[in-house]
Symmetry: C3
């Protein structure tokens, strides 16, 4: 039976997503079965970009305006400086030939990393499955617990 | 022997506490033995509310004024916006019928989730055991390490 | 074979570094083999202090000015208040006789805790191995995954 890694992606920050995807791909490359479990702010990384204001009440609509979502909308956990810090980090990564977050995301999908989304988080944020892209399944915390309890590596990012 | 989950609750943020309690209850519901280990800012989640300024010197007293503690005093890790974001999140959760943090906390106690507090953190914050409520035991890092090393799931939140 | 603990030190925050080192030393004291894997902001904790502006282009030079690095340059994840909060926390720790972060760091080295640094993070931040001190090795994510998958305790801090 394959060894497993199960990572909760809670934060939605750009730099933490970089760490999560690097670890996920490293684990997948070494033959592990990797599951990413996106919850709360992390689910916003999977949000489709677009001009439409989504959400089913004024609060979720307002939140959708504030938090545009997707990799493009993600901020750094520190030194974001209204996006300047993120721009600098992305540029330094490009200069050094490091894979971008978009690249890492694609590699993860090719490696068969599973992208699960917490159904409760989705509901609370006023989003529907159609608002996200690249999701393998919407699951409850029970699914996470089962996967995690069988995993050699469990992280909360 | 029961499988175990051991979670360090370090941050004290409202949204991260939500994640910790959801995972704790999910694990307990599936029959795991769950231990929450509250340290530093996380211990403030267990602080009794009240008008008295606690602490044994001016720094801890001042800190007690700034950080009122308890679930009520906890902030969001992002989008807190002086409490507006937290109010919105709580409201969205209520609208969607999601269990509140207070509910999750009570469920955890009914499930027998263990609430341990790092004794060093308590001391450093100038608090005494009487300032907290709902604590099963005050322990050192050695107890945490023992529990975590026997656990299938280990997280730092 | 010894039991293992593998901790990713991602954040670089002073208070989270305290937690990481306390857990690392607690695990080492109980006979576990402990590996700290410093990445992104965490690597800055290992940066030598000094007047020289390091970095190989204007962005990394500018960043070096903003983020002086080392334990002295680290901030609290909350309540930092331009350093006042950190000063208060350090003072409260001293008053209570708690080991300082510098002490914990030295203890960790005496316990044989391994200090590994993510080579990609170093590169992206425009630093060279000479800019850091107290590093046992510079490694890729593959090394982390191997260690973590053999570990009883895996944390992301």
């Amino acid at each position: 039976m394959a060894r497993k890694a199960t990572i909760v992606v809670f934060s939605g920050d750009y730099d933490k997503a970089l760490a999560a995807m690097n670890i996920a791909n490293g684990a997948a490359a070494s033959g592990m079965e990797v599951t990413l479990f996106f919850c709360l702010w992390g689910t916003l990384l999977l949000k489709k970009r677009g001009g439409l204001v989504r959400g089913d009440n004024w609060m979720t609509k307002l939140f959708g305006l504030m938090e545009r979502g997707g990799i493009k909308g993600a901020r750094l956990s520190k030194w974001n400086m209204l996006g300047l810090g993120k721009w600098m980090l992305r540029r330094m990564m490009r200069v050094k030939g490091a894979a971008s977050l978009e690249d890492l995301w694609m590699t993860a999908r090719q490696f068969g990393v599973r992208f699960l989304v917490c159904d409760l988080s989705l509901e609370v944020l006023g989003l529907t499955p159609d608002d996200l892209e690249g999701v393998d399944d919407f699951v409850g915390v029970g699914t996470y617990v089962k996967e995690a309890s069988e995993s050699e590596i469990t992280l909360f990012i």
